[in-house]
Symmetry: C2
Subunit: 187 residues, 2 copies
Amino acid sequence: NVAHGLAWSYYYGYLRIVLPEIKERIIASKFFENCNERIHMCKKFILLFPESCRCFPTLHDQDSDISVEGHLEPVIRNRAGTVNRYYRSTVYSVKDNIDPNKKYFFIGEYITAILTMFEMEQSNLAGLSTHDKLLQSAQFYIKIEDILKCHVECNNTYKIIYFKDQSERGKIPKISDIILTTIKAEI
Amino acid sequence: NVAHGLAWSYYYGYLRIVLPEIKERIIASKFFENCNERIHMCKKFILLFPESCRCFPTLHDQDSDISVEGHLEPVIRNRAGTVNRYYRSTVYSVKDNIDPNKKYFFIGEYITAILTMFEMEQSNLAGLSTHDKLLQSAQFYIKIEDILKCHVECNNTYKIIYFKDQSERGKIPKISDIILTTIKAEI
Ligand SMILES: Nc1nc(=O)c2ncn([C@@H]3O[C@@H]4COP(=O)(O)O[C@H]5[C@@H](O)[C@H](n6cnc7c(N)ncnc76)O[C@@H]5COP(=O)(O)O[C@@H]3[C@@H]4O)c2[nH]1
């Protein structure tokens, strides 16, 4: 049951470390300082969950309408023998799809833990069929939401965006649109 | 089956990224430049595997005879939406237990993935009993060695040190001694 362990690993090894202080880190950033009527910044961590578990190296690689802007100040922790391990959060921006003068900054990334399931499916050695991967992917989604609900320090700090990136009719959703919808609902 | 997913995650998300170039990064470091008859540097990545899966924040926290010396140049990758994610390797040193004028530098850390199993056992929510954790811990050890044997680019780049950190007679092994034995066998 791959999903169970990966969900707990993702919570203990990452979300518990970066989510609780994310609002403060956003508000303290130079990006937030630059906000005005035309420039908004989303105060929640946007976590992308493609159904196939396929995670591109950067969001720009999946959708060129998403631009890389920089990083928040990193979270730095001693963990499991790594002294001063860096946890970096990438700041992206996307233009409004209605008013091109409007821009939205957001902290975003894919759910790194699911990339393992994609890579296991791609490898011949790991023994994870596409069918199993999709089952485990759904299990992971249920599990991680369960875990996060039980930990109040993470409440209201994130938005998980689950999306079908494998379209049977050849039309893949544009993640900039999906993210814009989410950000506007938040702001 | 928590161990299976964690082992693949640890390989795809970490070892595959940091092990292949570890010798070159060690040789390129200022620590290696300073080596002489009295100062040696181990050219393999030392990965500590405590049986209980309990990983201290730093190795110095488990054994004060191990000193923190610094870091290698980090590996930097775009991964799953994090732009320029840092992978840092900590450089430690330990004095010879026979000749105190001799010193050994090494790259070392605990196996991060097993810390998740320790934290799951400690939490009431994750449903991992101590008995299950010890079973999964053994499974992880078998699995990660299996995985690494199948990937030639990782050959001869690491040493996994599995040790019983829970002693029934109250005597916990001194990890500096265990590490010294391993390093001297390598050099
Ligand atoms: N020592 C060490 N140094 C590192 O830089 C490092 N990076 C990863 N790992 C370990 O490798 C394995 C695979 O990593 P992956 O990124 O897929 O999962 C990670 C990832 O989904 C998420 N995560 C952790 N750190 C970050 C980070 N800096 N940015 C984004 N996601 C992260 O949380 C999961 C668990 O992390 P750890 O529990 O720290 O251990 C990981 C894991 O066992 C590391 N181990």
